[in-house]
């Protein structure tokens, strides 16, 4: 599975109902994700980013995912 699909699946599993868009910014391991999720409501930006980073941590830790740019927003 391409890393982009893998990352999308990981985030969607961690944040059920979320809308996730993953864009390859280069080389297949520099990704940008845009995540819209109801789980972000009431959370600070940093906690929203923590949720996304935690979801893909296993890929970051192995180095498969080298760089992840994150943009979060609430639902709607």
């Amino acid at each position: 599975m391409a890393l982009t699909d893998d990352v999308k699946t990981l985030i969607e599993s961690a944040l059920p109902g979320a809308t996730v868009e993953v864009i390859d910014e280069g080389g297949g391991d520099h990704l940008r994700v845009e995540v819209s999720a109801s789980q972000f409501e009431g959370l600070s930006l940093i906690d929203q980013h923590r949720l996304v980073k935690d979801a893909v941590r296993e890929r970051s830790d192995t180095g498969e995912l080298h760089s992840l740019t994150i943009k979060t927003s609430g639902p709607g």
Binding site: L45, I46, H49, R50, T69, K71
Partner: protein, 135 residues
């Protein structure tokens, strides 16, 4: 588990520096695009900030910041002892206008140039874990 001595030292740095940026490389010579993005935003405010190059002790510092702030990637911007975020959040807060408040930039207009302090992290296994140098 993070090296307790290094963790103490980092907690002290975070406490003692109102605006502290953990980054790869130095403000004058960033070692990664994301660190450069954070530096560029900070520089645009003309605020005084301290910068710590994490490259000499990358993995130990990942462990330390993971324990302190549940954040293991760099750059990391701390203001008044709190983690504000990495490059994405810093840019987003800049664009939304919130970063000025976070940084307390009412002083910015009277500060024509940022005064930078650079620290060097050394391998924590060797003598003192961090050395502080004024650039």
């Amino acid at each position: 588990m993070a090296d307790p001595n290094l963790k103490d030292k980092i907690e002290e740095l975070i406490r003692d520096n109102q605006i502290l940026l953990f980054m790869k490389g130095t403000p004058d010579s960033p070692g990664c695009g994301n660190s450069m993005r954070a530096v560029n935003v900070l520089e645009s405010y003309g605020v005084e900030y301290a910068a710590l190059d994490v490259l000499p002790a990358l993995q130990p510092l990942r462990e330390v910041t993971g324990e302190i702030a549940d954040w293991t990637t760099f750059p990391q911007l701390y203001v008044n002892g709190q983690l504000v975020g990495g490059a994405d959040i810093v840019e987003e807060l800049d664009e939304s206008g919130e970063l000025a408040g976070v940084l307390g930039t009412d002083r910015a207009e009277s500060a024509p140039q940022s005064a930078k302090q650079e620290f060097k992290a050394e391998n924590p296994q060797q003598s003192p874990p961090m050395q502080i140098e004024n650039s």
